[in-house]
């Protein structure tokens, strides 16, 4: 994983102040949405908790960080775009979908087809030897479950319960 390259305006203090002017703020929100997605993709991050520090939201070199209100606005904008979801009622934990669930489902199906795999536990997909080095490694469990459900609807896979949650698995149809 290489160093993430921040855009040049990441070092401009106004980037970290929520702009009161609508046109300017719209542009600012747009730029933040892009940056959040890129950053999360680069670091394979799926969750942003508003109550915890998140490295992207603070630039220590210019001593600026986003206010709670600003972070909430940027995440809400992502949610409006369908690129994020609140995971709790209080709107504190946010799932970042830098890749759509459908795309994950396609990706998973391609992987098992190419490797001739018919049976895998969720755990194996997330951190097994087979997926090591592929884009599937490190996938969020919640996202994975939803991707599998999409495949189930298409009749391409079936989920089965193991003796423990670790043993929950997926059976893929051969065609």
């Amino acid at each position: 994983m290489g160093e993430f390259s921040f855009p040049y305006f990441y070092n401009y203090p106004p980037y970290f102040t929520l702009q009161p002017m609508k046109d300017t703020r719209d542009k600012q929100i747009q730029l933040w949405k892009e940056l959040i997605l890129k950053y999360c993709k680069h670091h394979k991050l799926f969750l942003i908790d508003l109550e915890e520090e998140f490295a992207l939201f603070e630039n220590t070199s210019i001593q600026r960080k986003l206010t709670f209100e600003a972070r909430e606005q940027f995440l809400s904008a992502l949610i409006a775009d369908g690129r994020a979801e609140w995971l709790d009622k209080n709107h504190r934990k946010c799932l970042i979908l830098w890749r759509r669930i459908e795309d994950w489902a396609d990706s998973l199906l391609n992987f098992v087809r190419e490797n001739g795999i018919e049976l895998m536990t969720l755990e194996e997909i997330i951190s097994g030897d087979e997926t090591y080095g592929t884009e599937l490694a490190g996938l969020d469990r919640g996202v994975l479950v939803r991707a599998v459900k999409i495949l189930e609807q298409r009749g391409k896979a079936a989920m089965f319960k193991g003796s423990s949650t670790d043993d929950d698995g997926v059976k893929f149809s051969p065609n």
């Binding site: 305006f9 106004p14 702009q19 002017m21 993709k41």
Partner: protein
Amino acid sequence: MEACARVLQLVQLTASGRPRLESGEVECQLLDGIDLEEDSGKWALKSGILSLTTHRLLWLDERLMKASAVPLGSIGQVYASKKSLKSMFSTPRLKFQVWTQKDGRVSSQGQDGAAGSIVLSILFKGRTGPDSFVQRFGEVVKAQAWKVNMAPQIRSSLDESVPAGEAGPSSGTANIPRRPPPTKINPAMAGVSGILRKEQEQQEEVDKNMKEAFQDLNGLMSKAKEMVQLAEKMRARLLQGQSAGTDEEGMGTKQEMQDWMLSVGIASPVTKESAGALYHQQLSRQLADFVKDPVQRAGGMLALIDAYCLFNRARGTELISPEDLLTACTVWATIDVPFRLRKFDSGVMVIQSVSQSDEEVFMRLTALVKSGEAAKMGIGATEAARALGMAPALAKEQLLAAESRGILCRDDGADGLRFFHNFFMDISITTLQEGS
């Protein structure tokens, strides 16, 4: 108009259309809806503003921005209006005799240099009737303030605008600077030492009043009335009562005093008393003349509060209320003056020169935020104030205005509110790629 121009004196107007008064001349009353007619019917001036000053009778046409004058010195007999049944229903009028010279112009020397006379009528068609005017007219003519002082510089500049023949012998006196004005000697007041002592006593009293007045605010409040009375007395004395000063020194200090009074202020403030219904309109014009210099000095924009303080200081005694000032500024929208009242989003109100365009200010701000340190650090109100030559509070308003136009963006950091070039608008958004 032509016929009357050959008879009446031409009056110069200020940029906003107020008559340029002579030194020591004070406006006494303003009336609107006035016709001025020559009785033989040769000419008539219709529905203008009549201004009675201590020196002249001025007739103003606000639309054409023209004014004519009859010097009070040329007025001979004033005919009392006949009280008849008929006069109750016709327009009230005031007739008076005016001495003229050989060339038919009004004679400022009065009867002495006159070759003939004409009769003029003032017709009162406005809301205000003639009664108070007639009384005032009589008083002013009797006071003969025009005889008291004719400041050389203004007198001579006025002479340029009137034909040499009219100016006559007075142009000779105008060339001698600081000539003591003609005075009437009152035997009862004679005696140099007596005058000096009296002057000194007065000065001590003034000193005492000033000291006490400025001790604290309460002191000032309790002294306010006395101060006003004192200032009024001084002005009145300067304008009329020259009887006390036959010695050169006394005249010198008086002249100085008067120069000083003129320099700090407006010799003839427009007052509710003198202008009546025309008050706000005339005040508005006077204010426009007055704020020209302060606004220029303040970089094209002056906070209304500052204007209020400066204006009232200049007026000296006839103070105006904040509401009157605000109304006067609002009237600008309806008359042709180079200023306007501007209200910022924050509610701050300023007087802005029409020539100062927002674009120009924004251009300067844009240049400022792109140069040197400011590009990295941004600019605060202080830096903007220095660059624009205006007060920080107003500079901040300009910054906010520039922000609302999308020219600047803000940084609300530890150093307070600072403004940067709006780089957001420079970046073209690449639409989020699907699935990336």
